[in-house]
Structure formats: structure tokens, C-alpha cells
């Protein structure tokens, strides 16, 4: 069987697809690629269905060897890519000869890159999905050196373009659009003003579950306890520290702290590319 042999992973590399929605009733969140737009593009470039499983690489450092000729693409955070030591372009269709090593280096901006191979990564699905949910502990283990990832049969469709024009991830401060709610009335007027009037910094306490942000405190005007309630990706939940956490793909199904605002769905991919130290401005 053809496969990818994992030689190195960098800080975190996981298999992802479009997740397992519909299972919240039994405590299972959707999970799936953090930057869904980049993930889908990687699959389209190699002619896969958009939901075929691919590798999400966090901050570069992935090295894999192909056991047969493969077609691949790297999207998302732009990083130096080499195939057997020769430079290759991101957002393009790459021909990987049997035995060649693909290296995905550290991105100079953005955080998460995607390596898709024609045929998709065909590890065994768990509850209908091949996504690794780091919070729930579902799906394949995060990749480690020595792992062998099977590649599925190539789809009937062939790659149609060689290169996709993609706006690069933003360097410096990024702006995310938000809508107040659902519990914005639990916060003071000053808190609402601070949230959209100042900037927040992504702290190193950030992962696929969410990003802890540092910046002005968001004080509550109601201090009673909120019974746990359902959470969406993009929710800005405010724990007793008064600094918001921005929930990403592996967020908990329910949460017990009030949500002051929610990032609009179209800006979630951009949020997933914010790296520790980067500043975020929220705009209504």
C-alpha cells in the first residue's frame, strides 16, 4: 500500500478533515481543520473531494517520505517547501517521486499549513471522521516520527490548475469582525468598549481548542453563575481572569463562562492563523 512515512513533525502535526458535526448530544464537538478555507484549497488543488483527510502542520517542521509517486499541495501559512531538497511553491500542485522527502519548513507568517496528497490520508475514521480532536481525544493520535499514513486511491477528477492565487496570511495586527452576544449584557459598557476599542495579543497558551488573549480586562456587571451552555467556534468566552479566550476547532461542546462576542464565520480561518505574539483587533 502506498503511504507517507512521517520522519519529523514539528511542534504539532495532525490528520484533519471537515470534522464530525451532529454529535454534540453525546458530548462530541465538530473538530476538523482549523483553517477550513486553506484545507479545502489543498484538496481542490490535488483533485480530491474537499473533505478528504490531509495533514495540518502547526508552525512547520513536518518531514514525510512518499513510498510511491504522489501528487501533493501545501496551503495555509506560507512556508518554505522542499521536495528532496529542491524548493517548491506553496498553493501549487507538487509532483513527489517515489522515495522523495517533502519538508514543510517554518512559516514566515501565519501558523497552520496543510499538506494534502491526491487520494487523501486514509486512516481509519472515528465516528465518521478522520479529524484529530485534541480536547476530546478522538481520532488518530497526533503524528509522531515513524508513523505510516496510508494514502487512498486517487479520485477520478484530475488537478485542474497548477497554482492558486491566494492572499498571504496577514503579518502584524489582524482585524476580526465580531457580533456582540450572546451574553454581552453580562458585561459592563466599558468592557464592550474595550473589546472593540483596543487590541489583544495572542498568548502562547493557545492551541486548537482556543487562543488565550491578553489585553484590557473585560469586567462583568453580573456575577451570578451561568449554567453551562452550548458554545460555537469563534466565541469569545470570558473566564474569571477577565481576559477572553477565542474558541477554535476543538472547542468544548459546552462552557460555563459568559460569551461577550462571537467572531463571524468568514473570519474564523484568519483567526486560526494568528500566532502567539500577534495582535488582534475586534471590529463590530
Amino acid at each position: 500500500m502506498s503511504c507517507l512515512q512521517v520522519l519529523a513533525t514539528g511542534p504539532l502535526a495532525t490528520v484533519q478533515d471537515l470534522g464530525r458535526p451532529g454529535l454534540a448530544g453525546i458530548g462530541v464537538g465538530s473538530s476538523g481543520a482549523a483553517d477550513g478555507g486553506a484545507f479545502r484549497l489543498a484538496n481542490r488543488l490535488v483533485g480530491n473531494d474537499e473533505g478528504a483527510a490531509a495533514i495540518e502542520v502547526t508552525f512547520g517542521g513536518l518531514e514525510v517520505r512518499a513510498t510511491r509517486d504522489l501528487t501533493a499541495a501545501v496551503t495555509g501559512a506560507p512556508c518554505p517547501v522542499t521536495v528532496d531538497g529542491r524548493g517548491a511553491a506553496v498553493n501549487s500542485v507538487l509532483r513527489i517521486p517515489a522515495g522523495a522527502v517533502v519538508r514543510v519548513g517554518m512559516p514566515d507568517r501565519g501558523l497552520r499549513s496543510y499538506l494534502a496528497v491526491r487520494g487523501g490520508i486514509s486512516v481509519e475514521p472515528v465516528l465518521g471522521s478522520r479529524a484529530t480532536d485534541v480536547l476530546a481525544g478522538l481520532g488518530p493520535e497526533p503524528l509522531s516520527p515513524g508513523a505510516e499514513l496510508p494514502v487512498g486511491p486517487p479520485p477520478q477528477r484530475f488537478p485542474q490548475v497548477d497554482l492558486a492565487p491566494v492572499a498571504a496570511c496577514e503579518d502584524g495586527e489582524i482585524t476580526l469582525r465580531v457580533a456582540f452576544g450572546p451574553r454581552h449584557d453580562w458585561f459592563t459598557e466599558d468592557a464592550l468598549t474595550a473589546l472593540v476599542g483596543s487590541s489583544y495579543e495572542v498568548t502562547p497558551e493557545s492551541n486548537r481548542v482556543g487562543m488565550r488573549l491578553s489585553g484590557p480586562a473585560l469586567e462583568r456587571c453580573r456575577t451570578d453563575e451561568l449554567p453551562s451552555e452550548g458554545m460555537v467556534a469563534g466565541a469569545l468566552q470570558v473566564p474569571p481572569s477577565a481576559r477572553p479566550t477565542l474558541f477554535l476547532a476543538d472547542h468544548p461542546v459546552t462552557g460555563g463562562y459568559p460569551v461577550i462576542a462571537v467572531v463571524v464565520a468568514a473570519d474564523l480561518d484568519k483567526a486560526a492563523q494568528a500566532r502567539p505574539g500577534q495582535r488582534i483587533r475586534f471590529r463590530r
Binding site: G22, S30, L127, L138, V178, E229, V232, G234, V263, A265
Partner: protein
């Protein structure tokens, strides 16, 4: 009934009580409105996850208002019997908090028929309601960093079983060998919303 938007990704429906949540969840889980991708019942709210490309929020609000509430929660109404050894680390504390003896705590826990009202916290974790009101206890002041799998606990008006080792703040009264969560089983969760549970003491 109050609607709270979560930008274009969700619609949180705030309801009067747990029963109203159950009734609405039971109705919507059978026929979710167009554009709703998941439902998250909780103690006083039902969250509708939306597909921003397909969801017409005004139409969904109208559909939710038009729902004929059901008397029972979704699910098949199966009865799961859970064998428990009542030797939990917090059993004495629960007795103190409730003013009951440890024996009475166990008797009350085993005599009730509980119902899974919602999931959350971890895959396969079911919040069980319907127990005797005397067993309502606050969470532990300090949550434990490691609660062993199979631990049976109480918190607020709920009882629950930890599906796997995890941190947790529930008052632990016992443990069970029953595997409430296995991904290679269909369905993987024994404690799905609507399932009834009876605890049985084993020594």
C-alpha cells in the same frame, strides 16, 4: 423563549427550565430546520449550530417558535442499569452536605430513575437529572486534576459518570466498571439524551 445570536454561527434559545429544553430538543432533533448542523441541549438553553451559508435565521426562529413541544426527551428511552461500588472519596462529604447518612445517600441514589438530559464536558458524559432533590450538592471547592474513569459523581441536581480519566470537580460517591463510552461500539455513548438510568449497588 428568548433568542440570542452567536454571530452567524449559532442561535442560542433560552428557555424557562430543563423540561422546556428537553421538549424543544426532542422535537428539533427529529426535524432540524434547514441550515441547522447540530443541537446542544443544556440546563436552560438549546444551542443551534448554524451553517452560515444555508441558515436563514429569521426562518429558523419562526420554525422554533412553531414547534409543538414533546413531553419526552429524544432518544430511544432505553433503561441502562449501572452497577456501582459506593466507596467514593467524597461520600462522607456528601452525607455531611445533605444531612443524610452515607447509607441514605446510597439508597436515594439507587432508588431513583435518572434520565440523561444532555451531554457535554467529555465524549460520552451524560448529565443525569431526575434524582431526589436531597442529593443536590455543590461542586467541590477544589477540582481534582485526575478523576479515574468510571467515577460516579454528583454536582448540583445532576449525577454523572466520568467516561475517561479527566480533571473534574464533581463529588465522587462511587465507581462503576461499566464502559459508558467506546468508539468501536454503536452507539458509542451508553448515556445519550433520553436514556434512563438506574444505579445498582454492588459490594
Amino acid at each position: 423563549m428568548r433568542f440570542l445570536r452567536c454571530a452567524d454561527s449559532g442561535l442560542l434559545v433560552e428557555l424557562a427550565d430543563l423540561e422546556a429544553v428537553q421538549a424543544l430538543y426532542a422535537a428539533l432533533v427529529e426535524a432540524p430546520p434547514e441550515g441547522v448542523t447540530d443541537l446542544v441541549p443544556a440546563a436552560r438553553t438549546l444551542l443551534l449550530h448554524l451553517d452560515p451559508q444555508r441558515a436563514d435565521v429569521a426562518a429558523i426562529e419562526a420554525a422554533v417558535r412553531a414547534v409543538e413541544p414533546r413531553g419526552t426527551a429524544g432518544g430511544d428511552g432505553a433503561l441502562v442499569e449501572v452497577p456501582v461500588v459506593y466507596d467514593g472519596a467524597d461520600l462522607a462529604e456528601v452525607a455531611k452536605l445533605t444531612g443524610l447518612t452515607e447509607r441514605e445517600v446510597v439508597d436515594r441514589h439507587t432508588s431513583a430513575v435518572w434520565t440523561v438530559v444532555f451531554g457535554g464536558f467529555a465524549p460520552g458524559f451524560g448529565y443525569l437529572a431526575g434524582g431526589p432533590p436531597e442529593l443536590a450538592v455543590p461542586r467541590r471547592v477544589e477540582s481534582r486534576t485526575k478523576v479515574p474513569p468510571g467515577s460516579v459523581g454528583l454536582a448540583g441536581a445532576f449525577s454523572g459518570i466520568y467516561p475517561r480519566e479527566s480533571p473534574g470537580g464533581w463529588q465522587l460517591i462511587g465507581r462503576t466498571d461499566l464502559e459508558v463510552w467506546r468508539v468501536d461500539r454503536n452507539p458509542p455513548a451508553l448515556l445519550r439524551p433520553g436514556v434512563r438510568v438506574r444505579f445498582q449497588e454492588v459490594r
